[in-house]
């Protein structure tokens, strides 16, 4: 390119036109999802999550000794029906693996942009600060759904491959068809997604506090572990109903006939509370923050 070429681009009408009204921001949300799902890191995390039920299924298949009567819930069921592998995988992943990946995504949301110096360019583009928070949060929520669905679907597929599949006997003793049981698997994945929404909001808030994404990720994951530890101590029983992790494993009610929705509702309400509180904190912090990164 010669220097004389630089300024020689003629201005044509079409590209100089601007929208007269601001778009709703759907395009930016899609772009946010594209950035999230174009990262190798995101796919690595989803692959790792998919590996959880696969490992369980293979391990159970190889140890032919049958039921030991110990270990996490649902593990014993999978030798009888492969459709339980997804649920067993979620049960194992909910305390640590899922919070880990959610912590990475939500903790990275603002701090990661600050770290790559893209935050200031987004803000002067301009993305309003509230809009940025909302879009970041929604993207994290989409990741939660992708993570739990990945886990469930990988579990169901490996279950079908390695174990007999048939009508599922529920906890209430009723037997439902394969189709019905798949719907319930999806419901459980949805339950786990909702469970992670509060943690995502906490991660978003922590992410507004720092320019170091690793710090925000670690702090979010640590908080999820602290909450579960507190939830297991009888001395803090007064606190239990307020902990965001309190209902994480209560999806068993979805395996009754008819479905017992109350735990789903309680969980959703609690998570909503966390979203409101930490969303407000994130807004309070971020809306007036000096962006010096």
């Amino acid at each position: 390119m010669s220097s004389s070429e630089l300024g020689a681009v003629p201005a044509s009408r079409s590209v100089t036109e601007r929208r007269t009204r601001r778009s709703l921001g759907l395009g930016f949300f899609l772009s946010e999802l594209a950035v999230l799902f174009r990262r190798r890191r995101t796919w690595a995390m989803l692959l790792a999550l998919a590996a959880v039920p696969v490992l369980i299924a293979v391990a159970v298949r190889l140890s032919s000794s049958g039921s030991s009567g110990r270990g996490p819930a649902f593990i014993d069921n999978i030798t009888q029906n492969g459709l339980f592998v997804g649920i067993a995988g979620l049960t194992i992943a909910i305390p640590l693996f899922l919070p880990l990946t959610v912590g990475v995504v939500s903790g990275d949301s603002i701090a990661g942009e600050a770290n790559t110096a893209t935050l200031r360019y987004l803000l002067v583009s301009p993305v309003g600060r509230i809009r940025l928070l909302v879009v970041k949060y929604l993207a994290a929520a989409v990741f939660c759904l992708a993570a739990t669905l990945t886990l469930s679907i990988a579990g169901i597929l490996i279950g079908i491959a390695l174990f007999p599949v048939g009508p599922v006997t529920l906890l209430s003793g009723d037997t439902v068809s394969i189709g019905d049981s798949l719907v319930r698997s999806l419901l459980i994945a949805l339950y786990a997604t909702v469970s992670l929404l509060g943690l995502s909001a906490i991660g978003l808030f922590i992410s507004t506090l720092t320019d170091a994404p690793v710090g925000a990720m670690a702090a979010t994951v640590v908080l999820s572990i602290v909450a579960q530890v507190l939830d297991s101590l009888s001395q803090t029983s007064w606190l239990h109903p307020w902990l965001f992790s309190h209902y994480w494993l209560n999806f068993a009610d979805l395996l009754r006939q008819p479905i017992e929705w109350s735990s789903f509702g309680q969980n959703a309400l609690l998570q909503l509370g966390y979203v409101v509180v930490f969303g407000a904190l994130a807004y309070g912090r971020f809306s007036s923050k000096d962006i010096l990164s």
């Binding site: 201005a11 950035v35 893209t118 803000l123 002067v124 583009s125 000096d290």
Partner: protein, 337 residues
Amino acid sequence: MTTAVITSPSGFAIETEGLTKRFGHQTVVDDLALSVPRGSVFGFLGPNGSGKTTTIRMLLGLAQASAGDISVLGQSMPQKLGAVLPQVGALIEGPGFYPFLSGSANLHRLDSADGFAPRGTRSERVARALDRVGLSHAADKKVRAYSLGMKQRLGIANALLAPRDLIVLDEPTNGLDPQGTREVRSLIRSLADEGTTVFVSSHLLAEIEQMCTHAAVMRAGRLVAQGTLDELRSAGSTRVSVITPDTEAAARVLLALGLDLGHPDATGPVTGPAAGSASAGLTDATLSAALPDDVAAEDIVANLVAAHVRVRGFSIDHASLEDLFVALTGEGFDVVQ
């Protein structure tokens, strides 16, 4: 160009008053009164750490002012941020991109963040911006693999994604080779020709001198000079020097014309003997004084000759902007705290 905003008749693209930024006890920007005329190429000059970038961050609503008012394109910031910023392109303290995306994908991403940018022309505008900074060949390369200079170019391309009324470029030639620096200069000139106001910060005076019509000089958070380049040049006084053996007679003539030989800043009215010019037992000396606006240089010579002063040398020295810059901001590596 259609813009959603009615621009006020104010003749300034950027205007600040009493703009101040404090971090704790440290005042980084102190009572700044910038006036950037529309259509100008405005150089924002100052050594490292003089508060240039902090000022730019406040102008663009990234940081809040501790005190003072900002008006950009005739509207107050940060209150009208959503209406002002779509008309402003910016490169702020170095480029910032996602290393795992290609250059083109990065620009798509940032353009989608601008709610006023139409999606239909996005690909075309991205390609055009990349072409304008000479990055078309690297459009699909991951930014991770870009050199510093290429990232800098991509940063400038981002500022050019949409038609802008104001472009803010913070140290645009950082990391560029001489060829790239020349290209950026010509790019800025072409932007100015299209009527865009360009606000360029730099710590390099030569750069500003080559492309700007106006400039402001910062030192330790304060504005120490502002105006057109010609105004700034004339603020650095023009000096006349007379080489003559008849120093006393010459000094009388100069004083009679109103020239101030005893100016405290003068390099000394009488300097030592000029080398190799001993003649008739007298040595030449140099008299120098600031030249007032109302005295024509040729009158000085005429008066000197009329007074039988043997003029052996006469020169008029315009203080270079460099002298002015150094006089205003100090010399050396000391960053003012």
